[in-house]
Structures are given as structure tokens and as C-alpha cells.
């Protein structure tokens, strides 16, 4: 299974600023996903990021607010732009290999003050 790391592991940011979260995978994978999880809640898919194409966003999430880059098959970034306290959450990236299950990074805990 793929090993995934995320940076930063946590951050406290001021409203109106932006934060870029990095996701690094130890192997080449085609499909990468970004999720948001409020503490004690379920996971909500933000977007699917496949290398060589623009990210596909889910309803309620837009590129201007959550721009995503996927420059190669082992790396992706998610930016949370113009943050507000409502953006406080855990952000997780995941990858799927051969449609057999997703492997998640450890998550980035974001607090916006």
C-alpha cells in the first residue's frame, strides 16, 4: 500500500489568509482525492485530482476557494484561500491504487482565527 505524507500536520491561521497543504506519495498513483473532515464528523470529498487534467470539484467546492495542483504522479497541493473560521477542519488527501481502496494521509488540522 502507498505511504502518504502531508505538510503541515497542523496550522493556526488568521482569517483572510491562505494556506497550501502538500501531499506526497511514495509511489506513482493516478487518482488522488482531497477530503475535509470536521472533528467527530464524516468525510466530505472536495475534489478529485488526476495528473494531467484539471481537478474535478464536488458540489459546494470551487476552484477559486480551493485551488489544487497535481504536477506529477506523486505530489499534489490543496490551497485553502481567503480563509474564514468556517474553514477550520481536518484536510486529508488520499490515493487509490487499481480501484482497490483508498489510502489516506495523516491529515492537516487547520484552525482559522
Amino acid at each position: 500500500s502507498a505511504v502518504i505524507s502531508q505538510k503541515p500536520s497542523r496550522d493556526i491561521c488568521q482569517r483572510g489568509t491562505s494556506l497550501t497543504i502538500q501531499c506526497q506519495v511514495d509511489s506513482q498513483v493516478t487518482m488522488m482525492f482531497w477530503y475535509r473532515q470536521q472533528p467527530g464528523q464524516s468525510l466530505t470529498l472536495i475534489a478529485t485530482a488526476n495528473q494531467g487534467s484539471e481537478a474535478t470539484y464536488e458540489s459546494g467546492f470551487v476552484i477559486d476557494k480551493f485551488p489544487i495542483s497535481r504536477p506529477n504522479l506523486t505530489f499534489s497541493t490543496l490551497t485553502v484561500s481567503n480563509m474564514s473560521p468556517e474553514d477550520s477542519s481536518i484536510y486529508l488527501c488520499s490515493v487509490e491504487e487499481f480501484s482497490t481502496g483508498q489510502y489516506f494521509g495523516p491529515g492537516t488540522r487547520l484552525t482559522v482565527t
Partner: protein
């Protein structure tokens, strides 16, 4: 949009008792995956079910996929304290979309 309902929300059991969580969809699923998330951790993949009526076992865990591919269950026999966590189903309706259930938080009393 697509939704998958998961019940119960919480389950408290005595160690040694059985536990079951259920996921239901109003539309046919491509497949369904199950995950376990320990407190403070990230979701960990348990299994994927693809075929109608499929049943898979992992030691004390039994996973079932309904004949109509609209529902699924996870059953744990003789729970242990190591089973504590939140169990999520993740429904796949097409290639790139996953919808996670609300999760069932399992607490096991020793």
C-alpha cells in the same frame, strides 16, 4: 445528490458482544468500501465489495453487499477493546466519486 445512510450513529457494547453497522443507498452502487478510523487517526481501508451478494471475512469481521447492491453491512463477532473507533462505509456510484456514510462510533467496555 447521492447519499448513503449509515446506522447506528453510536454503539456501546460490552467486550465479547457482537456489533453491526449498516449502510443503505437509494440507488445502485458500483462498489462499497469500509474504513476504520481510530480516535485522532486517519481512515484505514478495510475492504472493498464489488459483486452483488458478496460476503467477505477478515478474522472476526464479516462484510456483506446486498443483492441489489444498495446496502452493505459490517459485523464484528466478539468485540475486543482494539475494535474501538469509528467505522465508515464509502459508496462509489461512478469512477471518481466516493460518498462516505456518517459513520458508526463503536465503544467497547472491558
Amino acid at each position: 445528490g447521492q447519499q448513503v445512510m449509515q446506522i447506528p450513529q453510536y454503539q456501546h457494547v460490552q467486550e465479547g458482544e457482537d456489533f453491526t453497522t449498516y449502510c443503505n443507498s437509494s440507488t445502485t452502487l458500483s462498489n462499497i468500501q469500509w474504513y476504520k478510523q481510530r480516535p485522532g487517526g486517519h481512515p484505514v481501508f478495510l475492504i472493498q465489495l464489488v459483486k452483488s451478494g458478496e460476503v467477505k471475512k477478515q478474522k472476526r469481521l464479516t462484510f456483506q453487499f446486498g443483492e441489489a447492491k444498495k446496502n452493505s453491512s459490517l459485523h464484528i463477532t466478539a468485540t475486543q477493546t482494539t475494535d474501538v473507533g469509528t467505522y465508515f462505509c464509502a459508496a462509489r456510484y461512478n469512477f471518481n466519486k466516493f460518498y462516505f456514510g456518517s459513520g458508526t462510533k463503536l465503544n467497547v467496555k472491558p
